[in-house]
Amino acid sequence: MTYVFGAFAAALVVIYMARPNFRRAVLSAALFFRDDPVLGSTNRIAWSTPRPTPLFYMQLSMLLLLLLAVPHWPAAAVMDRSARTGVRVLVDRSASMSTQQNGGKRFDAAVAALRSMVTPQQSSIACFTVSAFDLELTTIADNVASAGELVHLVSRLQPRPLGTELSLVERALAETPAPSRAEGPRAAPGGCAVGATIVVTDMPAPPWMDGPASRGDVWIDVSQPAPNAGIVDLVDTRDRVSGAVQRVRVVVGTFGGMAASNVTLSVSSPDGAVRTQPVDVWDGPTGSVDVTPLRPGRYTFHVNPGGAYRYDDEAAIDVPAAGPVRVDWRVARREWLTRLGWTEDRDNPDLRVLPSIDMLDSRPAIVLGSGYVPRAGSAQPVTTFLETSPLVTGLNFDVAERSGMKGAPALPPGFNAVLSGPENAVWIAERAAPVAAFVPGLPLDGDDNVARLSSTVFLNAARWILERRPRPPLFTLTSADQPEPSGTRIALHPGEGNTGRTPRSAGVFDPRVPRGRQTERRLALWPWLVGAAALVFLAERGLALMRGAS
């Protein structure tokens, strides 16, 4: 192309080197002009310096401007492709999108917002991809041709009683290709080259939407504050050794201007009793009601009034029956098994009590050492101890130094010393996984300090191990696999019931804005050059007309 324009410029120079075109005119009085000939060569081409007329310079500058614009034409092609780029639409279909606001669901508002955004821009959008997100990001369609089809497709979606995982959206935006000038927007597997993203949700735009990486993307927050009250959380308190549910705290929240004073909680017990009580302990927007399950079974909670969001109005839990601690007791002295009320179960124990480190396997266990030999006179000083370990909670180190604890034999890898004496003698040790503890021995009989210390050490180890055993949950949350609430599978996903957030949208939707500053700068040059050439052309024509007229 450069050579073509160069040829044009050369031709222009030759034309201006040529003598002017004298039009033939016949006059009967032509003989009276014999005194007025124009002197000059009669050759058609005058091989001399081009006559420097303004018209010549204007035409030459017009060609030069076009010539300068030529290297930018490949960018123009990129511009054309990015100008009608594809748009990815991410639609929030989490539980909160079912919130009622302004007489309709938030999801309906999302569909309307999407329609109003893409319909005017239809001409500049080549195609759409549609994905829905809640706890997972699901591709709905990867090549939608028109805005109408897109809206129709989105309107067929329904909110699911699941939480919102915004990290999926962040990751998706981060993975949106920054198209290079040469490659243009990367085509999705379905063939739609995505250049911009529209996120439609009821969550406020996160800060990373304000960054340069999100240029051209838009975050539409369709939420409006709506009064809502609902269960925010269920927190159970259990016995650390037996695991029995001692208390369930029902945390209730009010949002969007809901009056807290009117909120009550109904609790139905396994025996069929229903007890309704006001939520009268409030800490800011959240209050709580403590429920003490007297018997195992299903307890259901109902908040009244529920408000705009329904999935947090009810919850159900199953309180398991608290059974005895099952122990694989391998120690000869068995009186402590009886004293603690534990039952022996060698097949499925909660805890193993082993006399030797050699018997240790992957199951939770307390390994006993060689016992305590109290010393009346001299003491063995504690050299190191792990203060944060629960195994030394409540220990009197003065007593420990006189308790005559002996160092453990060689412990397998994974054990960390919690309390050590002289010459690196490990008195108490713990292993996080598989969970195990080494203590000097069983509790001693008697009521002296060493006996109390030995009891404390043993019970600390037993509690630390037993409280770490898996406990059956009181309830489960809905998941992508099982999205519908049922029984104790409830939809108390964090933040879904918060209907009082201040909406915040972000970004200016511009599907023509390519992602990448370099591409943008290169695309901006050639139209100016062509425009300048057009202006010069107009001026040249105008000047030529004026000269012709004169």
Binding site: P20, N21, F22, R23, R24, A25, V26, L27, S28, A29, A30, L31, F32, F33, R34, D36, P37, V38, G40, T42, G548
Partner: protein
């Protein structure tokens, strides 16, 4: 080198004989006694056609006294005599410039209008009983038409006269002088665009000499400058036309240059007038409008029926 010119045979006059007759008769009726005509020179004489009453002068034939008129005369002591017409035939010679400059502009050639004018005048003169001769200004060839007023004959003579010649013949004034007796009318139809100034002055001298023999010379100047310059416009032009001998006459036509050239042409015509005028000379200007494609018939009608001198030429009565 190609030279422009219209070599086609001139077209016939776009006026019917009846139109020319009506024009002649209308002028006879309307302008009698008010316009001095030159077509016929009438003298008092012995014809049977009454001319006028006048007071008796010594020497008048007493037989011409009109006693009844004298009785009604306001002066009782004065006699009134009746006079009669004495009619003589007038000689009309029409010289036509047939050079190449007269064959332009191509849309309405000057030679075309000159031939029409000659045809009309020959017909009217013939119908009035005058003797008419055509003369080619370039070659000097003279064709006698007599006083028949035969338009077919006139037209054929004009066609023969206007045939373009490969090389212009030398001026032959001898045949013209023989055809132009004293007291005759000489019409010269030309644009005065002679290539040589001496030719112009030579023509002026002939015109001047002709007036010495009581001849009335009318030079009809065919001026198509406005039309032609309008057609070629302004700007760079390669001029072509009769009399241009250089390989290419390249000029930048502008209003100033055209005005300057027009001044040269007018100067030449003024010099011609000064050299030609000797008491019996008139010059008519037939001008072409400043239009790209003017109608030749319209130009002819405008000047033939609208110019005073043309009416004087046609007038059958009165003295010069």
């Amino acid at each position: 080198m190609t030279r422009s010119g219209n070599g086609a045979t001139p077209e016939a006059l776009p006026l019917a004989s009846s139109q020319l007759d009506r024009y002649r008769l209308r002028l006879r009726q309307r302008d009698r006694g008010t316009v001095a005509g030159a077509h016929l020179i009438r003298q008092r004489g012995q014809s049977l056609e009454f001319r006028e009453f006048r007071p008796y002068l010594p020497g008048d034939d007493i037989r011409h006294v009109d006693w009844r008129a004298s009785a009604r005369h306001h002066r009782r002591d004065e006699l009134v005599v009746r006079t009669f017409e004495h009619e003589v035939q007038t000689r009309v010679v029409i010289s036509i410039d047939t050079r190449l400059t007269m064959r332009l502009p191509e849309v309405a050639p000057k030679l075309q209008l000159a031939c029409w004018f000659a045809e009309a005048m020959s017909y009217i003169a013939g119908r009035s009983g005058d003797s008419v001769a055509l003369h080619a200004l370039g070659s000097g060839h003279v064709i006698e038409l007599g006083s028949s007023g035969d338009r077919w004959r006139i037209r054929r003579a004009l066609q023969r006269m206007c045939v373009p010649k490969a090389t212009p013949a030398a001026a032959n004034w001898g045949s013209l002088e023989r055809a132009l007796p004293p007291g005759s009318v000489w019409l010269v139809l030309t644009d005065l665009y002679f290539a040589d100034e001496a030719d112009v002055m030579s023509l002026a001298a002939r015109v001047r000499n002709a007036q010495a023999g009581s001849r009335w010379v009318v030079v009809v100047d065919f001026d198509s400058w406005a039309c032609e310059t309008h057609r070629v416009g302004h700007g760079l032009r390669r001029l072509d036309g009769p009399g241009v001998s250089v390989p290419e006459l390249r000029v930048r036509l502008s209003a100033d240059l055209l005005d300057e050239v027009k001044g040269r042409i007018d100067d030449r015509k003024r010099r011609f007038d000064r050299a030609a005028a000797a008491g019996g000379y008139d010059r008519l200007r037939w001008t072409w409008p400043a239009e790209a494609d003017p109608a030749a018939a319209a130009i002819f009608r405008e000047h033939f029926f609208g110019q005073e001198i043309v009416r004087r030429l046609v007038m059958p009565d009165g003295a010069r």
